[in-house]
């Protein structure tokens, strides 16, 4: 590790954060609007897809995951995979009852 590179590693400009914030607000508006429409069983799915996209923006930009080393990315994937598998296996029981 170079002696000084640690405090410039993720300098973003103010602009990108404000852009992301605008996107997040827009997505919130969309998700509320979509929920108002009657699309039956897709309501929850749409809401979750939008939420995931919002979470993705927060993770990569606000939480600087984009500019961290690959190790961090692998860590996050491992954690999410663990949670994801728990869901899949749990429903291997419940969805067939």
């Amino acid at each position: 590790m170079e002696k000084h590179d640690y405090y410039h590693e993720h300098s973003h400009s103010y602009g990108i954060y404000i852009l992301v914030w605008l996107a997040l607000m827009a997505l919130t508006a969309i998700t509320v609007a979509v929920a108002g429409m009657d699309i039956g069983k897709f309501t929850v799915a749409t809401a979750l897809i939008i939420a995931s996209f919002k979470a993705y923006l927060v993770l990569t930009i606000f939480m600087h995951l984009r500019s961290e080393t690959k190790t961090f990315l692998i860590f996050v994937i491992v954690a999410l995979l663990f949670l994801g598998i728990s869901f899949v296996l749990l429903f291997s029981d419940y969805s067939f009852q």
């Binding site: 590790m1 000084h4 640690y6 405090y7 410039h8 300098s11 973003h12 400009s13 103010y14 954060y17 404000i18 992301v20 914030w21 997040l24 607000m25 919130t28 508006a29 998700t31 509320v32 929920a35 309501t43 929850v44 809401a47 979750l48 939008i50 939420a51 919002k54 979470a55 927060v58 993770l59 930009i61 606000f62 939480m63 600087h64 961290e68 080393t69 690959k70 190790t71 961090f72 860590f75 996050v76 954690a79 663990f82 949670l83 728990s86 869901f87 749990l90 429903f91 419940y94 969805s95």
Partner: protein
């Protein structure tokens, strides 16, 4: 793994990457803590789809959406405060941190009104009104109180942490070349935000 990871870091030496790594690992535990409750939610939602639908109607979507916006904005100010400190704009950074705290408090005040509105309708754990409802609705409100309550506690902890950071910034302990603690606090704050991003549609938007 990249080579610079295996570099020996002296005991007294700072290791910002290491600190952030520890913080991320801690965040995973937070994620899975809520993950456990999301597991519960998903199974009960699956077992009682109609009751959940019915119960969710009781919640105020506008209020929830408004609170989401508040929390998202607080995430923005938190992120900006880090940029400010990176650019050595100490006062601006402190100001942004204080705005974050203000927004977080605002979120909690809203939450308080929401909860007390529910309470005044007689919907609270163990109340007769709630117990007279169907199983699915009891479970929905059980999860609602527990999950938003635990999230609220996390917001409180976040407020405390950010306040400590503001003080440290003022005292010059957080500077433009040493701000990993502020960064870690930011990471925590964003995670609290992410959890709300999922709580919001699952409780308010499934109608």
């Amino acid at each position: 793994m990249s080579t610079n990871e295996s570099t020996l870091v002296e005991h007294v030496h700072r290791d910002d990457v290491g600190s952030r790594m520890g913080m991320w690992l801690f965040l995973f535990t937070e994620l899975l803590l809520f993950g456990g409750m999301f597991l519960l939610y998903s199974v009960y939602k699956f077992q009682y789809p109609d009751e959940f639908f019915l119960a969710a109607k009781e919640l105020n979507t506008i209020m929830g959406a408004f609170n989401t916006a508040v929390l998202l904005t607080s995430s923005l100010t938190m992120a900006l405060s880090i940029v400010a400190i990176q650019r050595n704009q100490k006062v601006l950074s402190m100001l942004l941190q204080m705005v974050t705290i203000f927004l977080a408090l605002f979120f909690l005040v809203n939450k308080y009104f929401e909860w007390s509105a529910k309470f005044s309708h007689g919907i609270y754990p163990g109340s007769e009104e709630l117990l007279s409802k169907s199983s699915g609705e009891i479970l929905f409100f059980g999860l609602y109180y527990v999950m938003t309550g635990l999230h609220g506690i996390h917001v409180l902890v976040g407020i405390f942490l950010i306040a400590v950071m503001t003080r440290m910034t003022r005292m010059g302990k957080i500077t433009h070349d040493n701000y990993v603690r502020l960064e870690n606090t930011g990471l925590y704050w964003h995670l609290v935000d992410i959890i709300w991003i999922f709580l919001f549609p699952l409780f308010y938007l499934i109608t």
